[in-house]
Amino acid sequence: MLAILPQLLVSGILIGGVYALASVGLTLIFGVLRIVNFAQGEFIMLAMFGAFWINYLWGIDPYVSALAVVPAMFLLGLLVERFVIQRILTAPHSMQIFATFGISVILQNLALTLWGPDYRSVTTAYTSKAYSVAGLSISATSLFAFIPAVLMAAGLIAFLHLTRDGRALRALVQNRYAATLMGVDTRRLNQLAFGCGIACAAISGCILTPMYYTFPTVAVDLIVTSFVVVVLGGMGSVLGALVGGLIIGVAQTLTGFYLSVEFKDAIALLLFIVILLVRPQGLFGRAGTEEMGMK
């Protein structure tokens, strides 16, 4: 039982990269806009369908199709921000929840209506390929998902720390009111943050396509895990999403093997409650953050 532990850890870390990837957009949108985007998983689902159809129709590799899917999703993000998010920024939080939740119901069932409930998959040359390193087997698709996940988080952190817009975004995360007084163009940056958040979802969608099934309710599998990851890592923290993703990935792989596959989601929930009780601001969140978003 213990001999397989290193293998489980490696698999867990790799799958954790995917979770991190799915959670980064969520944490970015929350950090800047103080809105929990319940539709984040559905945007990932849309990107997966985008990558799937491009592959199905023209045989283009899902990783390559990201070049088309990501900008398209970024534009969609801007539209959603303009017509929905902008109008609910100051609304009571129950309305904010219902707005993004409504978007999630719409997108999910739009996909269901257009493409049916079938599980589809993209088969590429590397789908079932695995590398063998020091007796550990590493699947190519999860490795290809892990690397961009880390790169994306690194890129985002670099963007937030090194560029002017990035610094303005961080100022917004820290204190919206003060940032506005300093002349930060909140309107434009809100759009940028939401667009980038959706673009992150699109990247993870394209990367997930070769390793996962594409179907309209795929978000249900993803979203619970990514919420746990975001809460664990600290809401609004990109680094937190990365670390949180890895922890959840390892925890789920271990439970899946040593206990039972059915309890994989239950362990995420258990972790969730423990975090809430012990450290509600998450690993990398600042104290009080868990309250800032609510009012």
Binding site: V36, I88, A91, S94, M95, F98, V220, A266, F272, G293
Partner: protein, 290 residues
């Protein structure tokens, strides 16, 4: 003209009004927007069904045990959640029905897993099963009255005011001597108990349960949606919402599959939030004032 089809819609209108009204207590007054009420609903339904179908225990006892079990679960799971507010509270509540569904699917000796439980139909008041749909209408109506009465009592009463105070500014309310956790816990318990009774009624009426039919997120959405359409935080809102939407839903599900139907639901949800956040009751009040 009055055939079973229409009577069925009347029963379901009342059941949904009661469920939505119970949800409204938490969300409308306390700002505790639960997206997991199907967990309470399902526990209520499953407890009665399991006790009756597996052990032949009267549904009346099932009702009481179900309410006890639901409130106990509600207290246990919501207590830690009160540390979170707003959207984060909703996030966590969303997870519970998922866990319940996993549990119901896998605890086969008790719940019979994915194949579901059929309740043997033995009509009689002692089994709370009736030949006539009118009896169910009466029972569901009684539940609506109880929920409405509770809401009215809260609306003008001390608990309602405390809750609204905590919802609008927890720190200010606390400094005035309101105990936030206590009032939240109280309203959650009431809401869970009433939702559980709704689940009991559903089980006794439909006579068949399987995990997705009671724990599905769609149930939680529908419960929330009806209150929102009618008017969040008003005693009459959930009833108006259900009276408007349940018959419409009956027509929709007759002609449309699950996808397009929920697509319409989602669009209505978004439209209400953007155009009329105070719902029908709110719009009516505004119209009367001008």
């Amino acid at each position: 003209m009055i055939n079973d089809y229409y009577l069925n819609i009347v029963v379901m209108t009342f059941v949904w009004a009661a469920l939505s009204g119970s949800w409204n207590l938490m969300a409308g007054y306390g700002g505790l927007v639960s997206l997991g009420h199907s967990a309470f609903f399902g526990i209520g339904a499953y407890t009665t069904a399991v006790l009756y179908a597996n052990y032949g225990i009267s549904p009346w006892i099932g009702l009481v045990v179900g309410i006890g079990l639901t409130t106990a679960t509600a207290v246990l799971i919501s207590w830690p959640c009160f540390r979170l507010r707003g959207a984060f509270f909703s996030l966590v509540t969303m997870v519970f029905p998922i866990v319940m569904e996993i549990l119901a699917n896998n605890w086969t000796p008790l719940t019979r897993g994915p194949s579901g439980i059929a309740l043997p139909f033995r009509p009689g008041l002692d089994n709370f099963m009736f030949n006539s749909r009118w009896s169910y209408i009466l029972a569901a109506f009684a539940l609506v009255v109880i929920v409405y009465g509770t809401t009215r009592w809260m609306h003008r009463g001390r608990l309602g005011l405390y809750l609204i105070a905590v919802r609008d500014d927890q720190h200010a309310a606390e400094s005035m001597g309101v105990h936030p956790v206590k009032v939240k816990l109280l309203v959650t318990t009431i809401s869970a108990a009433l939702t559980s009774a709704g689940g009991f009624l559903y089980a006794q009426y439909i006579l068949f349960l399987d995990p997705p039919s009671v724990f599905s997120i769609n149930i939680s959405v529908q419960i929330a949606l009806f209150s929102l359409i009618g008017g969040l935080g008003t005693p009459f809102g959930p009833i108006v919402g259900s009276v408007l939407m349940t018959p419409l839903d009956g027509v929709l599900s007759q002609f449309l599959g699950g996808g397009p139907r929920l697509l319409i639901y989602g669009s209505v949800l978004l439209a209400v939030v953007l155009v009329a956040p105070h719902g029908v009751v709110g719009a009516f009040k505004k119209w009367r004032q001008t």
